[in-house]
Every structure is written in structure tokens, then in C-alpha cells.
Amino acid sequence: MAATINTRELNGVAPGVASTIASPTGKLIFQMSDSHAEDASNPILRPVSGSYYSYWKSIYLNAVTTPPTEINNIKFYSSGTMSWTGVTLYVGDETPDVANYVQAVGTLGKTGTEIVTGYSGITAKTTMNTYTSGSPKSVTGSIATPNIGAISKLIVLQLTITGAVDPGDAGSATLTWRYDES
């Protein structure tokens, strides 16, 4: 049978606690705290000057059941048209091992630490709008039968917020995994 796959988020002190983004209504909520909770606590703040950062999100592709043979060729992308005023979604250029997960840190309720500064193993970042279905981000990882568990390495996401941000709910965006199953 086809493998059952989901997305998991790591939170808390390393090695982290893995939580599943529920199907079909789950969401990845960016907040000013290290939390998987899909609630309105510690919302994103508008900076008076400069930039604030959300607490970063570490996610990976996970096999709940094993594939018939193998899953590989993992890609990750966005619509390419995310346009939140004053808010930009970045992804770390490197994809750290799940074992090298780093807990999101910052000033609780105000701003997270920027990922290039605070996430060991990430040396640069790119806007998610750069990665589209036609030009997706490659993510290292694979899994072969009879194994289950983490398939990919970590995708690390973070919002950068400027004073131009509008108040209220900025709305949602869709991020997509693509992978081959055999």
C-alpha cells in the first residue's frame, strides 16, 4: 500500500518534540514563541523601527507507514506569489539533519532570533517566493522499506517583519512538498 506521509514540526529543547500538522485542517502558525499550538498567542508584532523576526519553524517530511520500495527526490516550494505587506517568509539555504535541530529562541512575545545568526548550520537564507513548482528547493533525504520516520532533513522557515506590516490576520499561504514514491 502507499505510504502514509505527513509533516512534522519540532519544538522545545533539542532533540525536540515532534508534532504533526493535522490533516486536512492543520496549519503552521508563526508566532513570537516556540510553539506548535495553532492559536493566537504571542502574535507577530510590528516593529517601530528595523525588523522583527518570528520564532523559526523546523519542519520535516515524515513517513507514518513505510513505502512499497522507496521515497526520494524531495522538493519544497511555494506559490511564488506570497505578498504579505511588510512580511517576508524566508527559508534557510541549508537543510540541517533532524538530529541537529536547534530550538527557536528570542525575546518571548517580541521577536525571534534571526536564523542565520542563531541556527547552527544555516549560513544564508532565501525568500520562499523564490521556490516555485517550476523551480523548487531540493531537500536531501529518502527512506526505504521497511523503515518509517523522518524522510527529509529539516526545512527551517522564518518571517521577517518590518514597520510596513498591516494589522490583523495576514491570511494564509500554501507550501507544498513534492516527492517520488516507488
Partner: protein
């Protein structure tokens, strides 16, 4: 264009799910079907003889001959999944063969669209990234 990979255009689009219905036929005569995304068994790549697309009345309509009798020819069969962070949204089937630097890939989209590719870039996508 290889002579042993052919198709026509009489596929009836599957309107009930995002999955194609298909039937695999093996040298032994064994048949494996997947109807409306429901697998009755997992396909295996060895000794695959024919791959059929099945229409909404579950009748085989499009035959893809994946004859592997030629030495060194490897059958490619992949399901390419597209999944938002919370659910699978689409499955594309990829069927074809490869022998050294020669290959043909047939992309079967759930919308009923079929694309034939002999692009080296497409083949490179099958490289395992471990």
C-alpha cells in the same frame, strides 16, 4: 520515438478522485489494479509486461508496453506526490524505461493530461538524494 511505447487519446478522465486508475500486467499473467486511488496490491517493477490506464467504467483503455526483454532495460514506475503541509493534493504517475543513456518517461496527470519526455533533466530527477 521508440516503437514499443505507444498510447492513444481515449482516456476517460477520472472525475471522482485525483488519482488515475490503472492495471499492471506481468509476464506470469498476474494483473494488479488500482481503481480510484485504491490499491489492491503494490506494483512491482520486475517482469512488468504491460501498463494500462483504466477508464471510469474500469475498462482498460490505454496500453503502455513496457517490454523489458531487451538486456539492460530497466522499468521506471513512480508515483510523484504533491502534498501541502497538511495533506496530499495530487498524484502524477511516471512510467517508462531506461537503458544506459536512452530512456522515455510518460507523465500521467490526474487531469487526464499525458506528457511524453525524453529530457535528460527529467531523468536526473530520479537520482536518489540520500
Amino acid at each position: 520515438m521508440p516503437t514499443d511505447l505507444f498510447f492513444d487519446t481515449h482516456l476517460s478522465k477520472n472525475k471522482t478522485t485525483d488519482s488515475l486508475s490503472w492495471m499492471a500486467v506481468y509476464d506470469s499473467g498476474l494483473q494488479i489494479r488500482e481503481i480510484d486511488g485504491v490499491s489492491y496490491a503494490d506494483i512491482v517493477r520486475e517482469n512488468l509486461k504491460e501498463f494500462w490506464l483504466v477508464d471510469s467504467s474500469e475498462k482498460p483503455r490505454i496500453k503502455i508496453d513496457v517490454n523489458h526483454s531487451e538486456t539492460g532495460r530497466n522499468i521506471i514506475f513512480r508515483k510523484r506526490r504533491y502534498m501541502n503541509l497538511d495533506q496530499i493534493t495530487k498524484t502524477v504517475y511516471i512510467v517508462g524505461w531506461q537503458k544506459e543513456n536512452q530512456f522515455v518517461l510518460l507523465y500521467l496527470y490526474p487531469e487526464g493530461v499525458i506528457e511524453l519526455s525524453d529530457s535528460k533533466n527529467d531523468l536526473d530527477l530520479f537520482a536518489c538524494e540520500k
